[in-house]
């Protein structure tokens, strides 16, 4: 077997390897190098840190802070909402489980802009929710163009992305291990936090990344539900490219954003590895 693999490995066909390696270089590696180049240079291609330091501008800094806060909030709420649901779905009988889970995943496949547009319709000054309040003779509420509206949009948009990996992890979970924990005298809380959560850690980690990264970098949700009153870091970067036309500043801010993405990924990977180790010992 090993010998045969060695034989196969020697036959590298350049026609097979060539196209996608060229593609990867042209459309993945060079583009990233360009962002770094633009981020660290000015209009005359001289080295500068000004683009990166633009993050300390009060408006930009506020937008970054709000992005971090709202995306962290949305991620935590998604996790709290989705975990019990994933547990309920995973413990259902085989036939029902698949169909009902499909029902909860379907909104994920609908155009996400239209789903956020739906919340605009609900939250507007004359929107559905305020109409309902008026029907009960309650005063109208200022709902849209607030940070809360954006957080709600994030939770709604990304909930299926949290649910799916959690559900997959929980269906793979060996419930005999859970029962063993009960038999050995663990109470419900202990079993949940010391057996179920560690064993489904890969699902939790991929759910968190699938919600946090897009929420941190979104500009559509804040465009639709924040008006132009609430700006996220995504909006500032988008404006630099599509309205201001300053690619250097836009690239510099993107680099700052990428640092936060990399930090969150590193933290997540650390947890995933740690729990895998623990699971192996089990």
């Amino acid at each position: 077997m090993r010998c045969k693999e060695a034989v196969m490995k020697r036959k590298q066909n350049p026609l097979l390897t060539g196209p996608y390696l060229v593609w990867t270089a042209a459309f993945i590696v060079i583009p990233l190098i360009l962002i770094v180049f633009y981020g660290f240079t000015d209009a005359d291609h001289h080295f500068t840190m000004d683009n990166i330091m633009r993050i300390t501008d009060p408006v930009t800094l506020k937008a970054l802070g709000l992005s971090l806060l709202l995306s962290a909030l949305a991620t935590v709420i998604c996790l709290i909402l989705a975990y019990p649901l994933a547990m309920i779905l995973a413990r259902m009988k085989n036939g029902a489980s698949a169909i009902i889970t499909t029902i909860f995943i379907i909104p994920m496949w609908m155009n996400s802009l239209l789903r956020i547009f739906a919340w605009q319709t609900l939250l507007e000054r004359n929107g559905v929710i305020n109409q309902m309040l008026a029907f009960f003779h309650l005063p109208p509420q200022h709902l849209i163009n607030t940070p809360w509206a954006i957080a709600l949009g994030m939770i709604y948009d990304y909930l299926p992305f949290m649910l799916l990996p959690l559900y997959n992890a929980l269906t793979k979970l060996d419930w005999n291990v859970v029962n063993a924990a009960y038999d050995l005298g663990a109470n419900k809380r202990q079993t949940f936090f010391r057996v179920i959560v560690p064993l489904t850690m890969p699902g939790i980690v991929s759910g968190i990344t699938m919600v946090f990264v897009p929420a941190l970098t979104t500009f559509v949700i804040s465009d639709f539900l924040g008006g132009s009153k609430v700006l996220l870091i995504g909006n500032i970067i988008d404006q630099q490219f599509t309205q201001v036309g300053d690619w250097n500043v836009g690239s510099g801010l993107s680099l700052v954003l990428m640092v936060f993405i990399l930090i969150s990924m590193a933290i997540m990977q650390h947890y995933e590895k740690e729990e895998e180790g623990a699971a192996n010992i089990l």
Binding site: N111, F219, M258
Partner: protein, 270 residues
Amino acid sequence: MKKFFTRLYVVLIFILLYAPIGVLIAFSFNNSKTRAKWGGFTFKWYIGMFRNAEIMEALRNTLILAFVSAFIATLLGLMACLSLNRMKKRKRSIVLGILNIPMLNADIVTGISLMLVFIAFGQFLSRYGYTIVFGFGTVLLGHITFNIPYTVMSIMPRVQGINPSTYEAALDLGATRSEAFRKVVLPDILPGVLSGFLLAFTLSLDDFVITHFIKGPGFDTLSTKIYTEVRKGIKPEMYALSTLLFVGVLLLMFGIEKGRNARKKSQQYH
């Protein structure tokens, strides 16, 4: 009691997910200019949508783009898997890591970086008298790029599961290399290839952020069209479009689910 609360919880989340979609559907039949009031039942927004040449053009662009980009990305992904499988482990993990960047990176960064590279290529080519026009071509290249990691992800497990002995047995028994590939290797990896294609197709249909940066003026997909229309203000045609897209997704998902069940059943009988 516990059963009651679990059911209540499932129903509440179901309402949270579907109520906004229900509102979109209801408004698509609303015969009133202001969306706040119910003015009777109508199909006029649907008719208006089908008569709107820009929306129809965007729909056509979206479908062509999804099909072509998924096809090319699947082909490139398959080639990548076959050659990665023969690489040394270290080299393979480096190439796979780079290949996965568009999947892990934020869409806004991928979009911006592609925009910058198209501008740079354009400047380079202009020396030789060529120009790059932002439009279908650039968007297609972008969609293929972000689709490749997903097709690789679907196809790779199948390729790794191939037993090389069967391929060699086919060669020993007198098959040419292309025959051995088509008749022995391909049937084994076909399910991965198909699911990779479907995944790429749906991702391309749904993309907004990357397209937004590399589309250029005058070219629109459904997503970018929705974005400009919604920012302009009330457009009841958008409600009609939402309803049709939702019904489309619903039919597709249940079709896939049914197909999967049928396959499972037929496998049980074997």
